[in-house]
Amino acid sequence: MYKNSLKNGAVDAKLVGKILKKVTGQKAYGLSKILIVYKNLIAQKIAKEEILVEASTLPQLDKSAFLKKTGAKRIVFKKNSDLVFGAKIKHGDWVWEETLDSRLEQIKNRS
């Protein structure tokens, strides 16, 4: 189900819709569990296609180079004034954080 939902390595919404319609129509045993696992796999894949950049002020980035390097399809910028300085970049299940909170955390862990 998951492999058939991809087109050129990315999740295709139309394909996902078709697969869901077919599977729910069959009313297979354990359908809810199948759908939960399918949802988690699709969500993980979508998370890898998107880079979330969170900062107090929106940075200037060479988007195309960034996307080429990470293999993602798009960058989403989010303004978060709580971060004070620095940025938090999330790509899939990887997070790079260089903010005031992370520095204080590193100082705390060292002590």
Partner: protein, 534 residues
């Protein structure tokens, strides 16, 4: 202002790194097990950290999620909470400062005696030492119990299983062994798995009263602790013991008991939705215990010469030693001590069945003097048991058979021992020598204990003999002469000595009844010249 400038300077000078973190999100949590999505970079048995300082262990690495068992209070966590990998495996604090403390499975103190500042950490899971690093077991670990040290000797570095139904004295044997290690440079670790908290408290109190906590660490994962902690506790105890082994010292670890450890692992595996096998245990239940027990070893001199002895305990149901978990552990260990309910309730305590108990190390873990007196003990007892069954039918028995029965009864009496009274090796040898050489033959069975006490008192005053035995560790001609002299003297009762009178009167009665049946006393157990009564 200076303080603020200092802080700013510290922050400016500090080197920071934007190292990537691998994160995940809880999608399901309950009963101490969390299912987490993400964590694509997590390793098996890696520590995962959650909010509120809670940590867990990643056990199930599946295609779409990771199964994590939680240490601590999982009720603070909820669906959607984030977690991250730490890059570390589970490590347990080890060191001399743990001695005398009561800890949980993560090494945190439970006794209220303050925090533990560990200088070193050992991994909870470790590959057992290889063949080349080991040497054969050849040093005895004295339990202080006559029945065990004579017939089922345990060596340092051995794994000896203690198996029996509930309340037959399994823990008592282990406590006696721990108490007997006082002054013998053996560090003891008692791991309580799934026990009642009141029982653990009782054990700690017993050890404290006998000054045994000075060389003991207690690791407690009681019945009220989570299955995760009960699963980890034996590995934590083993890691603590390995530290001492690596220092070239001897350590003893008691796992009380592995049946409950298996139950805890079964619970965790079922919650992690692992496929279940026989009796709902997971497929790797054997490996759970084999990798734990294989870590007990005697290291060769090049690698420190230390040892870790393991005494796992298994509780059977209705004496069924052919059940799944007991047979697993029996096949792993280097011998087993079976405790029988029939013997226990007949007053034979420790209720060891010497017929089916075995130590695969055997005489290699016995001193020469013990081998000299205990050589035929098992056989004598086996013959006695067979004859006792036969004698129940009430047929007339010949003189030899009667003597064997009487000797057997006295051996059984001598092997009884009160709880928490371990005996040193010299005392054991002297008592067993006395019974094997017929010095108990004319003592009424009911007075055997008193006569034994008398012999021990005599030995306590005979420093020359005691020192000779402790020094030479064998019964040579001198020791035999001294023993014969000491025990022959005792055959004359002193004033007010009822046991001596009983012995004297018993000897008089027996000599007048059986003039033709004289027993020649010798060190090999006696060559008897008897005449048939018919």
């Amino acid at each position: 202002m200076n303080i603020l400038e200092d802080i700013e300077k510290q922050i400016d000078q500090a080197k920071f790194s934007a190292a990537p973190k691998n994160v995940g999100k809880i999608i399901e949590i309950g009963d101490g097990v969390a299912r987490v999505s993400g964590l694509s970079d997590v390793s098996a048995s890696e520590i995962v950290s959650f909010a509120h300082g809670i940590t867990g262990l990643a056990l199930n690495l599946e295609e779409d999620s990771v199964g994590v068992i939680i240490f601590g209070d999982w009720s603070k966590l909820k669906e959607g909470d984030e977690c991250q990998t730490t890059g570390k495996t589970l490590e347990i604090p080890v060191g001399e400062n743990l001695i005398g403390r009561v800890l949980d499975a993560l090494g945190k103190p439970l006794d209220g005696k303050g925090a533990i500042s560990a200088k070193k950490y050992y991994p909870a899971e470790k590959i057992a030492p290889g063949v080349i690093l080991r040497q054969s077991v050849n040093t005895p670990l004295q339990t202080g119990l006559k029945a065990i040290d004579s017939m089922i000797p345990i060596g340092r570095g051995q794994r000896e299983l203690i198996i029996g139904d509930r309340s037959l004295g399994k823990t008592a044997i282990c406590l006696d062994t721990i108490i007997n290690q006082k002054g013998k440079s053996v560090i003891c670790i008692y791991v309580a798995i799934g026990q009642k908290t009141s029982k653990i408290a009782q054990v700690v109190d017993t050890l404290e009263r006998h000054k045994a906590m000075d060389h003991t660490i207690v690791v407690a994962a009681s019945a009220s602790d989570s299955a995760t902690m009960q699963y980890l506790a034996p590995y934590a105890g083993c890691a603590m013991g390995e530290y001492f082994m690596d220092q070239g010292k001897d350590a003893l670890v008691v796992y009380d008991d592995l049946t409950k450890h298996a139950w805890a692992y079964r619970q965790i595996s079922l919650l992690l939705k692992r496929p279940s096998g026989r009796e709902a245990y997971p497929g790797d239940i054997f490996y759970l215990h084999s990798r734990l027990l294989e870590r007990a070893a005697r290291m060769n001199d090049k690698n420190g010469g230390g040892s870790l002895t393991a005494l796992p305990i298994i509780e059977t149901q209705a004496g069924d030693v052919s059940a799944y978990i007991p047979t697993n552990i029996i096949s792993i260990t280097d011998g087993q001590i079976f405790l029988e309910a029939d013997s226990f309730y007949a007053g034979i305590r420790p209720a060891v069945n010497p017929g089916i108990s075995v130590s695969r190390v055997g005489g290699a873990a016995q001193t020469k003097m013990m081998k000299q007196v205990a050589g035929t003990l098992r056989l004598d007892l086996a013959q006695y048991r067979e004859l006792a069954t036969f004698a129940q039918f009430g047929s007339d028995l010949d003189e030899t058979t009667l003597k064997r029965l009487e000797r057997g009864r006295r051996i059984v009496e001598v092997l009884k021992q009160p709880q928490l009274s371990p005996m040193d090796i010299a005392s054991q040898v002297v008592v067993l020598w006395a019974v094997q050489n017929g010095y108990f033959d004319s003592v009424p069975v009911a007075d055997v204990a008193k006569y034994e006490t008398k012999i021990l008192n005599l030995l306590a005053t005979n420093k020359k003999l005691r020192d000779h035995l402790e020094d030479k560790k064998e019964i040579d001609d001198f020791a035999e002469k001294e023993l014969a002299k000491m025990l022959s003297k005792n055959s004359t009762p002193s004033a007010g000595d009822s046991s001596g009178k009983a012995l004297d009167s018993a000897q008089t009665k027996s000599s007048s009844k059986n003039k033709s049946a004289r027993v020649k006393k010798s060190s090999t157990g006696g060559r008897e010249r008897t005449g048939r009564t018919r």
